[in-house]
């Protein structure tokens, strides 16, 4: 999709991303995805062998998902037929940006592997919000507050344990793949390590029950500090994923070029793992990101994915795309980018 900014290229990619993963990398509120003067938005697509997917967003909240015309009880059941992985300019901060970016990267992988993960994350976020609101209530007695905190602790310990375990498992599987891409992209000079640094102390053997009990205890212990600082000090919302190159944190010691290669390697690892586990290559959404890479890395990316994956690519100019790629691609300009667009 070639054309100047503002003609709806990112819009279209975002719509595909939403339909495939129920999320947008750009914004977390459905209201910001709906045209300002309308009450709802509708995304509809026909994928694969004629599976018809539909997602309706509403300004007043709530979504409706349909598959082949049938209303789904849970929107999660929409995930599957259209797996996709996005790569946008925002991802370029994956290595040097805030820990939240790396958690989101890992979460996207876990979500593709286990859709139920969305429930766990939603529950954790809700618990954290309820918890911080509870501290702000002034009319409540201290005994009452602690009784309610106990009730939150029990739930948070369980949800946190399940999230930690899933993140750790996914990172273990990503590490060797990211390492082999790192070797390929950098010429094999520095060894890459991905370290999971959980926001809770995971004491005891690696099993649900001991971890749950350990986290519940830590939540109780940190309450005084929580009251003072206003935020909960234990849980997956404080996880960090450390990226080490030759033993040093890439975030601080890597050169700009090393960091770019690493970002590319991490995205390709994400793509490869999801392909392996789902048995089918997901669609790759490249939103205005090629222009941000130098010609060598552009070429490496296109070579790595071009053969096996269907890609939706947006760019302002055609320059920089190798000749072979241009011949295989369907190229759409501003005139073709309309609501009834056919791709593929």
């Amino acid at each position: 999709m070639i054309g100047p900014n503002g003609i709806g290229k990112s819009n279209l990619l975002e719509a595909v991303e939403l339909l495939g993963s129920l999320r947008s990398h750009r914004c977390s509120n459905d209201r910001d995805l709906i045209q300002w003067d309308t009450p709802q938005a509708l995304i509809r697509a026909e994928v694969g062998d004629g599976d018809r997917l539909e997602l309706e967003l509403r300004r007043q909240g709530g979504r409706q998902a349909r598959r082949n015309g049938k209303l789904l009880d849970r929107q999660l059941d929409l995930i599957g037929p259209l797996r996709c992985i996005g790569f946008s300019a925002l991802d370029l901060d994956l290595v040097r940006g805030e820990p939240a970016l790396r958690r989101q990267w890992l979460d996207r992988v876990v979500l593709q592997l286990e859709p139920v993960y969305a429930d766990l994350m939603a529950r954790l976020n809700r618990l954290l919000r309820q918890r911080s609101q509870l501290w702000r209530q002034r009319q409540i007695s201290s005994a009452e507050r602690h009784a309610l905190l106990d009730a939150f602790d029990v739930q948070m310990a369980l949800v946190s344990t399940r999230i930690h375990r899933r993140r750790q498992r996914a990172l273990h599987r990503l590490e060797p793949i990211a390492q082999s891409w790192q070797t390929h992209l950098s010429g094999g000079t520095e060894a890459l390590e991905l370290h999971y640094k959980p926001g809770s102390r995971l004491d005891g053997e690696d099993a649900e029950e001991p971890w749950r009990l350990a986290i519940e205890e830590q939540l109780r212990e940190q309450r005084e500090e929580e009251e003072r600082l206003g935020s909960c000090r234990v849980g997956p919302h404080r996880d960090e994923i450390a990226l080490l190159l030759g033993g040093s944190p890439a975030r601080r010691f890597g050169s700009a070029g090393q960091q770019r290669s690493l970002v590319l390697g991490l995205k390709l690892a994400e793509l490869e793992l999801v392909t392996q586990l789902c048995g089918e290559p997901p669609m790759l959404l490249l939103d205005d990101v090629l222009a941000e890479l130098d010609p060598t890395r552009q070429q490496l990316l296109l070579e790595a994915v071009g053969e096996s994956h269907q890609c939706l690519v947006s760019a302002t100019h055609l320059e920089g795309f190798g000749g072979g790629w241009q011949q295989q691609a369907q190229i759409l300009g501003a005139r073709e980018l309309r609501p009834d667009l056919q791709i593929g």
Partner: protein, 219 residues
Amino acid sequence: MNSVAADDLRNSYISRIGGRPLSGFTKPLARLIDQFERLPGIGPRTAQRLALHLLNQPEEQIHQFADALLAARTQVGQCQTCFHLSADPECEICRNPERRNGVICVVADSRDLLALERTREFQGRYHVLGGLISPMDGVGPELLHVTELVQRITNEEISEVILALTPSVEGDTTSLYLGRLLKPFCSVSRIAYGLPMGSELEYADEVTLSRALEGRRPV
């Protein structure tokens, strides 16, 4: 025009009338549609269909409909014992001596009570909390009928309390809170959910609910 394009056209038309209400409708009709749209679960399309349907009914029928609305609003209050909706000071369930069996089932609101009643599995009485604990919405235990529940347990010789609350964060928080509060007085259990995480009690089918009632577990 193929059917998808026709659908899109219709949707975009309906989106427009939903956004800036109702050009092309005469005023009294627009008012009626607007009233329907305020109801939960009713979008612009349904509101329009209901309003047009009512216009075609005999006037007598419309009077009965309006009377029923007003009567329900003015006459229905809460049972003074269990806080279920009731036109009398005490509801039918609380007045029924056969249901005084020492077991109370705690629900968030009257809709959940009605869902459980439909299963015909539960022979005891209910207690309607009037909501769930949610600091985000400013709802603490003091705004729910918790004190009254504790009083009932001592006054009515209650041996068992069953908590039947939606398994959301707020429902689980309320269950855990009540579990600790009531344990010194009686046995407390909560219904086991054959329900997927995050689903609502109100929408569960009767079979699922009956099974969940049988499989209740101590808190």
